[in-house]
Amino acid sequence: MATQNVETNKKKKKKKGKVKWSDLYTFSCLRPPPPVNRSDFGHPGFSRVVFCNDSGMHKTKPYKYPTNDVSTTKYNVVTFLPKSLFEQFRRVANLYFLLVAVLSVTSLAPFSPLSLIAPLVFVVGISMLKEGVEDWHRFLQDLEVNSRKVKVHIGNGKFVDRSWKVLRVGDVVKVIKNEYFPSDLLLLSSSYEDGVCYVETMNLDGETNLKIKRCLECTLIFDNEQKFDKFKATIRCEDPNSSLYTFVANLEFGDEDQLDSSYPLSPSQLLLRDSKLQNTDYVYGVVIFTGRDTKVVRNSMNSPSKRSRVERKMDHVIYVLFFMLLLISLITSIGSVLYTDQPQTTKEWWYLRLLDDTDASFDPDKPLISGFLQFLRALILYGYLIPISLYVSIEVVKFLQAMLINNDLHLFDEMSGKSVESRTSNLNEELGQVEMILSDKTGTLTCNQMEFRKCSIEGISYGGDVNEIVRAASQRMNIDIESYRFNLDGADSTPRDSIEMVEISSDQNKIDLNAEKGIQNLGVMAIKGFNFRDDRLMNKMWLHGSNVWDMIMFFRVMALCHTGIPVENGEETSSHKLKYEAESPEEVTFLIAAQEFGFQFCRRTQSSMFVKEIDPSGFEVEREYKLLNLLEFSSSRKRMSVIVRDEVGQIFLFCKGADNIIFDRLGDGGRTYQHATTIHLANYAEDGLRTMVFAYRKIEDSEYEKWSSTFTKAKVTIGHEREELLENVSETIEKDLVLLGAVAVDDKLQDGVAECIDKLAQAGLKIWLLTGDKKETAVNIGFACSLLRHDMKQFHLSLSRDAESKNQLKAMKDDILNQIEASYQVTVNEKTKDDPLALVVDGKALEIALTNDIRDRFLQLAVSCASVICCRVSPKQKALITRLVKRYTGKMTLAIGDGANDVGMIQEADIGIGISGMEGMQAVMASDFSMPQFRFLERLLIVHGHWCYKRISKMILYFVYKNIVFGLTLFYYELYSKFSGDVLYDGWYMVMFNLFLTSLPVISLGVLEQDVSSDICLQFPALYQQGQKGIFFSWKRIIGWMGNGILTSLAIFILNVYILSLSAFRQGGEVVDISHLGVITYTAVVWTVNCQIALIITHFTWIQHFFIWGSILCWYIFLLFYGALPPKYSHREFGLLVEAVGPAPMYWIVVLFVVVISLLPYFIYMVIQRSFYPMDDHVIQEMKYGRKIVVDDETWLREKQSSRKATHIGFSARVDAKILHLKDQLHKKRMFIIKSITSSPIRRSITISTLENRD
């Protein structure tokens, strides 16, 4: 013991630095770099030369490389104006407005130039301002990144803080723990003796586990600041490229003994910008790539500007209107020419004197020119058909909508103090049409936090309270858990099981009651990563179990079979609890759990592991285990083993791994608990827990000796068969295992994720999971958030080993294609058509499946599956899938993610959402909306999306209607004025129309309209499908509204002309002139369009009332005011209302009459639709408000239930499936009981009583 302590003390000096990782990691670290033809250096593609520690060399050409200053902005001060103006006038509509504005300065224009130029300046200005502000934010973020500090070597072994942007190629930098790498670095040395360091590449690929980087042995000596004084080396490497996983370079290093020897470098020496140093105190590195040469910057894409579908469709509507505009302009100009051109006409219309001192627009000598001028004038005059005010209003409305979203208290997260933020307001309505959600896993669905939840030792399950699905199902079925339990385990449950079940079921109520309390208690005594409650295991209670030996072995596996290391626990030294760090977060949870159970792993040395154990006698002892070998985890092995020798000298192999792998390797004597464990594993997996099976084996010394020698031989083999060899050797020792049990770890979901997914699924949204994590993890999460369930048919697409090893594209393609075809056959098969299907795709298989020729087949299959999970996908693949899904299905896609690896996907999707709660802002910066938690998606889509979609659709349709009504009355008047281009209305009326008289009601419609309130939206997710089907902005509707506009304009104009022409309209005998007809028609238009919007709106707050009726009132006020101006300003409108039309009863009656007739067609349409073809929102409105139904009403609940889209994913769907399953089981059980009653009369009395209880 004493010697040991001395040794420990000695070791403590250099803490964990002493551990030689290269010895522990038998596989990956010593893997030889892939063979590269080094002779390429100096040739194109491999021309980069880096003079280490001599950045001065890089100040001049040819070695001048870009600075480390990264800029993501689109514009700078100089280019902003021309570039953004160019962007703006690429829109056809804006170009038209520009043309009009230019023409308005000439004498052609019927209106004042200001009324045409001002709105254009407004629209373009707003858009440019938005661009500018966004770019400014980008600039600020760049500034923040560029001015981060890093320690740079300035000579003489001195390191000083410099900002990132001044970093040059060749600089030697020192990066401290938890810092990001400022550029792509070559690792020289680290705080560890053997030059390894841990890197978190979350921002690059989304993987949360730590990666090990390792420096060359020759640079190991530079582990001290002073030593860099003399460091000189040259790196020849490939040119900058975007491949994250390759790096080809040579280090030429002038050693004292070995001058100019050259060492090959591999990706494992390359530290990439934006990845983070972890678990390592510091590293030294040389800057190789800077700024835009770095791999991460080369991987980033320029953020595309997105436009919503509604807006794109609106463009088509604009084209239709533009066509209409051209048509009527053409009619006008041709008509005008025809009247002007004929020689006799010009003579006949003597009072026009067309031949004298002619106006260019009416020159009989030059009919073409005058026709053209008339055409231009008509283009401007009828410009009301293509309203620039529409763009202005949409900008305003979307801004206000975004403000409402940002201010929604229901979208505020108390925990992070953040709220959902709409970062680009032009996609609001897009939220109401989403059909497909592509979600990242880590950080988005999960908290990136593992918890130890359950374990099964010796066939007994611990820590198991009934999961929520079962609870919900049993509540709905009104049966108690007890009967479920019996059913689940059936007749074959061991006696011990039954006891346990009874125990649990009797405690059930108590547990339920305590659940709330428990959560509170947890806050005090919760141990991070350990969410386990079972008194049978805690506080050494397991010592009273029947088979203590296996228990101990189980805990030993837990405490020894890992790669973790304990770390000093700063604050809680008194509690003697340690914290751990390991390659994967699962291992950490195991270590923590082991510590809680009394097996504290306290330290690791080069060759030994020390564990404080609880002896069967109940005392704590510290034991040393000699670590003989570590057989590492790999994706193909799916298991990990350690071979240790305990203090007595016995050799054990502890193994943990995937269940099927371990079960295959059990010895005959080791299968005692296999059956029970299998059942438990199935339950755990269905709950979405990540499971792992523990087993051990005792190895005889002789066998070990023999094996060890072959293993060593394999280890020193060089070449690519080495890996296979090692695997084969490992295989020979990992056999005849004894099963101990299983553990279940929970990858903790974020709050409300399951419920949110449930609601979204009911709303008809498909959810695809795209994750960089491995398949098992992804599938687990699929279960946890109910994307998968056990009765689902799962298709797994992955490359078979055969095809993979051959590495031939053709073979791999065929392989994948066959798999796809086979799966697709199942989906189209009649019998299985309605079965829930799920597709799980592996990254490599995906790469093949997305190649040009088979991706259609793949997407076809994917779309027909209820849920799709893609694992091991790279950021680029995420973006690619998003793009393909978007293109292939034509469906609206939404991508949600939190890390830099999701940026591509976020930018590619129709809507990108960034999770803002976590570290790293890249996703948020690239996103259109940011939210602190996944669960807010539900309200954002189902409530705000639904509303915004309806609002914008209604608003655009109404706008089209309104402007057709107004614009066409102008045209009809031409028919009555020889196409001369005369205007019925005063110039100010024209300006007023879109500015004051009709704008505010539309904006109130666009901002405040609600078909149903938010809680009903949430209760009836089916309403969301209205948006998915796009029924509110369909061509049917657009044409309908255009037709309505044409009808209304005709009604207004014709009625006014017929009623008011010829005979006097006042008792004083006065007849109408242009100004009278103009003002009466205009009044009718103002009333009609404002009353029309009142018919559209279904939700009147005082604001709508105020705007609508205020607009009409505003018209009269304007008229009064305008008429009161001296005739110099008011021209022919002088005193119009007061003197002429106001006192005439005809004026008021005509307006009333015309308005009623104009609205009648729409009203009748509306009545017929509502009465005979009501839409869902109509019926729900009626149910809610019309009949004053209480919300608990049976019909209400029933409809709420049935409105859910039939879906196979989501919590509710699982509960439904479970109920079916349980009913089936219950039935079987009853049959069994009935049988047993008949067969064994002795049990009659007992069973009858049980039956009674049960029913």
Binding site: L352, L354, G417, S1061, S1063, Q1067, I1074, M1166
Partner: protein, 339 residues
């Protein structure tokens, strides 16, 4: 894995207001059958009596229309109206008679009606100078008046009133007589008050008017200020449509039924060239103005349609009622397979 205490975040919690939470109290009208029927009935109830009222008012109006452009053309000129009207030698006097069908109570309004005359042609409409008409100081404001701006193109000789509108002033005259008694035609107050008082200056006198080579229409008394030239003022109020009436004068005495009115027309105005028509109209007034049967009938028609709709809907709701909020109309109940 570290449990560092989270730095206190600046909470951006939105402030509660009913507006931002979109919880403003709102009226959510639902188009129930009751509403539908009520609104149709309301329109019907409003429109049918209104239509009847208008129709009866229109019925009370007595209107005599006489087209005289072709009748006043001597047979020898039957196809050459323009040469007849342009000749200085032809006798333009024409006598027409008309019978009063019903008693016309004073005041009886006399209109001239022109058809196919485009007073609303853009070139025509803008060929005037309101400033010049209003204020003697702006006599040379004739920019818009081309080609009737200055006499012989001399800028110092502006035409007052300038422009095509004034130039083409209607100049037929009517003398009405009942039996042998000439009816006094009151030509005062036939124009809008605002025109005579404000828009046409009482100190602006015609000048150089109709002195050019081409004579358009009527001439003006150069001794009277424009504000008193009410024929011009009426004419200058350009009509909105190519068929229009303009007030000629008023007769302040009743015309009894069956009386014969003789009209002596000076047929001066050239409508022959462009195929226009000229009519003289005598009309009484009601509260809706002149005779306007269309209006009343349109009112009645729409009222009738609404009544018809109302009845139809009542019948429909009685025969085939759709209970309000009937869940069977929900899309997921209608075609469950479509999901």
């Amino acid at each position: 894995m570290d449990a560092l205490p989270r730095p206190k975040l600046k909470s951006k919690k939105p402030k509660y207001s009913r507006f931002t939470q979109q919880e403003l109290p709102a009226w959510k009208p639902i188009l129930t059958p009751g509403w539908v029927i009520a609104s149709f009935v309301a329109v019907a109830i409003l429109f049918i009596p209104a239509g009847l009222l208008c129709l009866s008012a229109s019925e009370r109006v007595v209107e005599i229309i006489d087209r005289y452009d072709d009748e006043c053309l001597p047979d020898s000129y039957s196809n050459k109206g323009d040469s007849f009207i342009q000749s200085k030698d032809t006798n333009k006097t024409c006598v027409r008679t008309m019978k009063v069908p019903k008693k016309m109570t004073a005041p009886v309004f006399i209109y001239y009606q022109l058809d196919n005359f485009y007073q609303n042609h853009r070139r025509y409409v803008k060929s005037r100078s309101d400033k010049q008409l209003r204020d003697p100081g702006f006599a040379d404001e004739t920019r818009d008046c081309k080609p009737e701006d200055n006499l012989h193109g001399d800028e110092n000789e502006p035409i007052i009133p300038c422009g095509l509108v004034a130039w083409s002033l209607f100049n037929d005259t009517y003398i009405l007589s009942k039996g042998n008694k000439v009816l006094d035609i009151n030509k005062k107050d036939i124009a809008w008050k605002s025109d005579t008082e404000i828009k046409f200056g009482s100190d602006v006198y015609p000048k150089n008017f109709q002195k050019g080579e081409l004579i358009g229409g009527g001439e003006l008394d150069e001794t009277k200020p424009l504000s008193e030239q009410e024929d011009l003022i009426v004419w200058m109020r350009t009509a909105a449509l190519p068929n229009f009436r303009k007030l000629y004068g008023k007769i302040n005495s009743d015309l009894e039924a069956n009386e014969t009115i003789t009209i002596v027309i000076q047929n001066n105005y050239n409508t022959y060239e462009f195929g226009g028509e000229k009519r003289i109209v005598l009309s009484t007034m009601s509260w809706i103005g002149g005779k306007n049967d269309f209006f009343g009938i349109a009112f009645l028609t729409i009222g009738g349609i609404c009544l018809f709709m109302a009845i139809n809907f009542i019948l429909l709701y009685v025969c085939k009622p759709r209970p309000l909020g009937d869940p069977s109309y929900l899309s997921w109940n209608r075609n469950p397979s479509g999901q």
